[in-house]
């Protein structure tokens, strides 16, 4: 190991161009693999644990040899390995809460390697057998702070807005804040959503929202687990300085074809999964799911008249009906192909789009007796935005203790706003006819194409060390622009007032060691080194995790890490609603944004597996970028020019807080209580220090789910927090506007005088949601369940922003004082839906 470390250090010092590092890394990885072929004096048991009915991997299952201290936990792929087993006869057991225990008698000889495919049968009746919960496994084995995994049952357990949403559930966890009910974006410990790495099966997704953030793009029916790191994440992850969320999709049923569906007020979802029949050494599974909203179709079917097109002669034209020209859809595909025991290929695809699409036309005729004019105007808006990802993963079990994964992925996010108007006019008199045509077009687009290759090798060196290392090369193309065109019969003008594009490459290597220094002390140290193609310097990111086990039920944790980010969004920092993000790579002239996370925590897992976690954190940020807004001109090398999209304030920030989580994951009553005390401060040269508009000082979230019969389940959530900050208006003032052409005028312009940035707060946020599910009924052979949801049952007015008006004295027309009225978030909403499965 010493030699390996020396080799890596030496080579990194010598050559730090991205590709050179990649080449050297392959050599290092080869050394890892060679080292694994060491003489085995003991035996090894490895294998996969899967659900018997579906073949889905069982994560966090406990595999152990009875009456020994030897054992392991399965990872998220269901893979486990027990090493250093002396030769002999053993009683191997595998267990997981909710499943029957697996037992097998195993005889091992020196150097023997045994591979198992363990199938656990789901049971609904608890036995007296000692089983280990996933919570216990995570408690004992995880060194990282601030990590929480939610499985599909937990995601579905919380009351949802219309339909279950993983982001909405995550927003109820400590440390996660939201800007408003209308956004499912995650603000984590002072970090904005663009600082979070959102991944679907390991592939980056750039704008994972539908309808401006009201819904996330991830269809919960397809999700197996959401692995969330609020901070202090290990060296394996990089490129973002906020949080990591990896959505892991289901693998697909390996035993039989099954399906499920969900019909809610806004959309219908469906999922089908099944096996790929075994042929020779090939075996696999597939899963496909999709969703589409249908409000547009329903409105069309209802044929609601809203008027008629007409001309200025009073003739009634065609009837016009109400339309809702917006919908979104997404679909996901995942297939797994096992090639023997050691190799697996996984292909995942996600495609989701929001589409605002409408067109219309109007015809006007005018006849003054001497001639007539007929003008036909057609206009159209076509605006799709969304994500498209493809990923291919090759998992290779090099040896029982070495697993290598290679990802090849591309991810594309784009929005493409295209608005056009066309006018065709014919002017006719007795003597002549004239024909005019003119068209206008406006386009605004932002396209990101991310191509990534990544290899990770995990090597369980011995019972004390688990080493992982790898590389990642991420090439991102950003293309942001605006186009405008005017065309007549003889002339065409094309303008491109905005055209920003760049191509960046992040080349990273990482290495980390999970080291059990003693039974009570564990350490996870790591290093990530990144070369960013637009900058000359290397970015070095050390990571450290420490865990001290005070007792069987109590542990102390400390995590520290340094994180860089090489892209940003150019959105207004004060906007109330955000429909799309404008992404761009960190320009050459700006340094990479950087953050340091320091997290200390204590965890207690009660004998009934209720987790109590308290964590304190401090995050410092440097070199963040905040879009300059509203400035018309800027000086550039002495020249005055219109401020482009990529002018930013250099922004520093810090955040600190204290979080409490009490989580119960088993029994009839499940759920969690989360409390967060959080303070975040940003600093720009112009505004000084201020709390960003997502900052909420105190947040209390309670989420509960109670199964009181096998067929009825009730869920509830309560969220109470400090109000979000906003900039108050404190008075009125006159600015002046100049008119200097043929005359000279300077007119007063009444303006609101604002106070310090974000120095006021809206009233406290309060919301209670209720959900009820009645299940296990059958209709035409389909099992189905009904669910009802009530959002904001107290109809509490949670203020998103204010609208203002000046009072006019009706008697004399004078302008009096100013009034404001809240623009509320969700009112009381009732929704319902049906789920079915076969």
């Amino acid at each position: 190991m010493y030699l390996v470390h020396r080799y890596i250090s030496f080579r990194i010092m010598q050559h730090y161009s991205g590709m050179a590092i990649m080449k050297k890394l392959f050599i290092v990885l080869s050394l890892f693999m060679l080292a694994s072929v060491q003489a085995q004096e003991t035996a090894t048991i490895s294998g996969f644990i899967r659900e018997d009915a579906t073949g889905e991997p069982v994560a966090y299952a406990n595999v152990f040899l009875a009456e020994t201290a030897l054992g392991a936990a399965s990872n998220v792929d269901g893979y486990f390995v027990i090493t250093n087993i002396p030769a002999g006869n053993y009683d191997l057991r595998a267990s997981m809460m909710g499943f029957g225990q697996y037992r097998a008698a195993i005889s091992l000889t020196f150097g023997q390697t045994v591979r198992l495919n363990i199938r656990l049968k789901e049971v609904s009746i608890l036995t007296d057998e000692v089983t280990v919960t996933a919570e216990r496994q995570k408690f004992e084995r995880t060194i990282e702070s601030s990590n929480i995994s939610l499985d599909i049952r937990e995601i579905n357990a919380a009351p949802a807005f219309i339909e279950a949403d993983v982001f909405r559930t995550l927003q109820m966890l400590p440390g996660v804040q939201t800007s408003s009910d209308f956004s499912s974006a995650l603000y984590v410990r002072g970090s904005t959503p663009d600082q979070n790495m959102i991944m679907l099966d390991g592939i980056s997704v750039y704008n994972p929202y539908h309808l401006g953030g009201i819904f996330s793009t991830f269809n919960t029916d397809a999700i197996k687990e959401a692995d969330f790191h609020a901070g202090g994440f290990p060296a394996r992850y990089g490129g973002r300085m906020g949080a990591i969320l990896n959505i892991i999709n289901r693998e697909g049923n390996t035993e039989r074809i099954t399906g499920s569906g969900n019909v809610s007020l806004i959309s219908t979802k469906g999922l089908l999964e099944g096996p790929i029949p075994q042929w020779n050494i090939f075996k696999g599974s597939w899963m496909i799911s999709g969703r589409r909203t249908y409000f547009d179709k329903i409105i069309d079917l209802l044929h609601i008249p809203i008027g008629s097109s007409g001309d200025n002669n009073g003739d009634t034209g065609e009837q016009i009906y109400l339309s809702f020209p917006y919908h979104f859809y997404d679909y996901q595909i995942k297939t797994n192909l096992d090639i023997g025991f050691d190799h697996r290929l996984t292909y995942t695809r996600f495609y989701g789009d929001d589409i605002l699409d409408f067109e219309g036309s109007d015809t006007e005729t005018y006849d003054n007796g001497e001639g007539s004019t007929e003008t036909e105007t057609t206009f159209g808006l076509h605006w799709p935005w969304g994500n498209h990802t493809n990923g291919l993963t090759w998992r290779w079990i090099v040896s029982p203790t070495i697993v290598a994964k290679t990802f090849l992925s591309n991810s594309r996010y784009r929005f493409d706003f295209d608005f056009s108007v066309e006018e065709i006019s014919d002017y006719s008199t007795i003597d002549s006819t004239e024909h005019y045509e003119i068209s206008y077009g406006l386009g605004l687009y932002d396209i990101i194409k991310d191509n990534t290759i990544e290899t990770e090798v995990i090597w369980k060196l011995d019972e004390q060390h688990s080493i992982s290392g790898g590389f990642q090369v991420k090439e991102v193309n950003f293309d942001l622009g605006m186009g405008f065109n005017i065309a007549t019969l003889d002339t065409t003008l094309n303008l491109q007032p905005l055209e920003l594009s760049n191509k960046t490459r992040e080349s990273s290597v990482f290495l980390q060691d999970k080291w059990d220094i003693s039974p009570l002390l564990k350490l996870q140290g790591g290093l990530r080194v990144t070369d960013y193609s637009l900058h000359d310097s290397l970015y070095i990111e050390p990571r450290l995790g420490l865990k001290y086990i005070v007792s069987h039920n109590i542990s102390l944790k400390f995590n520290w890490g340094r994180y860089h980010q090489f892209l940003t969004t150019a959105n207004s920092p004060d906007e109330t609603l955000r429909l799309v993000d404008l992404w761009m790579g960190i320009p050459e002239e700006y340094p990479a944004s950087v953050s340091e996370h320091s997290i200390a925590g204590i965890e207690y897992l009660s004998p009934k597996d209720i987790l109590f976690r308290v964590e304190a954190y401090y995050k410092g940020f440097d070199n963040m970028l905040t879009l300059k807004q509203g400035e018309l001109f800027s000086e550039n090398e002495g020249e005055l020019e219109v401020t482009p999209f990529n002018e930013f304030w250099k922004t520093d920030a810090y955040a600190y807080g204290l979080e409490l989580l009490i989580k119960k994951s088993t029994g009839k009553l499940k759920g969690w209580i989360g409390y967060t005390f959080a303070r975040t401060f940003y600093k720009t040269p112009q505004a000084g220090w201020y709390a960003p508009n997502f900052d909420r000082t105190h947040t209390l979230n309670i989420v509960g789910n109670y199964n009181f019969t096998n067929r009825a389940q009730i869920s509830a959530s309560l969220s109470n927090s400090s109000g979000n900050p906003y900039t108050p208006i404190i008075g009125r003032i006159y600015d002046w506007e100049q008119y200097l052409s043929i005359g000279s005028f300077w007119n007063e312009k009444g303006s609101y005088l604002v106070g310090d940035k974000n120095s006021s707060r809206y009233s406290s946020y309060f919301r209670i949601d209720l959900g009820f599910t009645s299940k296990t009924k059958e209709l035409f052979g389909l099992k189905y369940s009904k669910y009802y949801q009530l959002i904001n049952i107290s109809n509490h007015t949670n203020i998103m922003t204010y609208t203002y008006r000046t009072i006019i004295d009706r008697s004399n027309g004078n302008k009096l004082g100013v009034q404001r009225r809240p623009v509320p978030m969700f009112p009381l909403i009732f929704t319902f839906g049906v789920k079915f499965e076969f």
Binding site: G630, R711, T727, Y734, W736, V754, F772, N812, G817, R820
Partner: protein, 312 residues
């Protein structure tokens, strides 16, 4: 309790909730503020003989008080599209300071500016402080100080250095402007000074009577220029149709020089610190450019204009 009973009970609760709490419209709320009022000043030193130097003085206004007074109607017009009569009203600030002592001085020369009230609503150059006729003739490249003492307010002071008066070089400028040809404009260079160049049609009474007010494509422009350059080329304009006129129209080309304060206030503008599309007016953090003790501007301009013709 079986699930059917539970379901029924939940339905009853739902019905009660829905019937008792709907999406209630939010009430308007009067806003109050306890802003300590300060003077809101616009002082202009004009080197243009056609424009008087003046100082306008208001005060900042609390949110609950009268802010503007209706003084007249500019125009009333009917919109066929909206089927509605629109009225463009003329307001003046309700909180004009009329009893201030305003002094402008340069070196030993000191001039008192006195309040000149507006008698008619169209007198936009009134309701401000001006020097008595002939008593104040500002000079180029000269430092000027401003002092405003108003009862109940902090004293406001200001300072600026006037720019040079720009000179368009008539001999190098073509007599006529054509919108589909580049147009070269020349002036005598002024170092480290920003300028504002504009062109517009001169709507003579006869022209308006015959044609009404028309907005001819390519017949108007505004640019910010660096007066050190001495030259600007106006690019041709893309127009969709011809002007509709057969004879040349008088055209006015004007070059304005600005002092640093004026340039910062009107050209660089304010970096928006807060945006909310639901506000019914713009916002400002309150700027003071060239003055201390209040908000506003103390700036200066010089100007030169020539008449040309605009080719149809």
């Amino acid at each position: 309790m079986n699930s059917n009973n539970l379901s029924l009970r939940i339905w009853i609760i739902i019905l009660i909730l829905i019937t008792n709490s709907c999406y209630a419209p939010q009430e308007w709320e009067d806003l109050e503020s306890d802003l300590e009022p300060v003077l809101n000043v616009y002082g202009l030193i004009s080197l243009d003989p056609d424009v008087n130097s003046f100082v306008r003085i208001y005060r900042t206004t609390d949110l609950e008080e009268l802010s503007a007074i209706l003084v007249g109607i500019d125009s009333i017009w009917y919109s066929e599209e909206d089927d509605f009569w629109w009225i463009d009203s003329i307001y003046e600030p309700a909180n004009i300071i009329t009893d201030a002592v305003v002094t402008v001085w340069s070196g030993e020369d000191s001039t008192q500016f006195h309040y000149v009230p507006r008698e008619y609503s169209w007198e936009f150059d009134k309701n401000n402080y001006q020097a008595a006729e002939g008593l104040f003739t500002p000079q180029a490249n000269t430092s000027y100080h401003l002092s405003i003492v108003a009862p109940g307010f902090d004293t406001v002071t200001g300072y600026l250095t006037t720019p040079e008066i720009p000179v368009l070089i008539d001999s190098l400028i073509q007599d006529s402007v054509s919108r589909d040809q580049p147009y070269e404009i020349f002036w005598q260079t002024i170092s480290e000074t920003k300028g504002f160049i504009s062109g517009s049609l001169i709507y003579e009474d006869q022209f308006v009577e015959e044609n009404g007010f028309v907005d001819i494509c390519g017949a108007w422009f505004e640019r910010v220029v660096d007066l050190d350059d001495g030259h600007y080329t106006l690019p041709p304009e893309f127009c969709l149709s011809d002007t509709g006129f057969s004879s040349p129209i008088p055209y006015y080309l004007r070059l304005v020089s600005m002092d640093e304060n004026y340039y910062e206030y009107f050209i660089l503008g304010e970096t928006g610190d807060y945006s909310n599309f639901l506000l019914d007016a713009e916002t400002t953090i309150g700027r003071a450019v060239g003055i201390e003790g209040g908000y506003g501007l103390f700036g200066a301009i010089g100007s030169h204009a020539i008449e040309l013709t605009f080719l149809p």
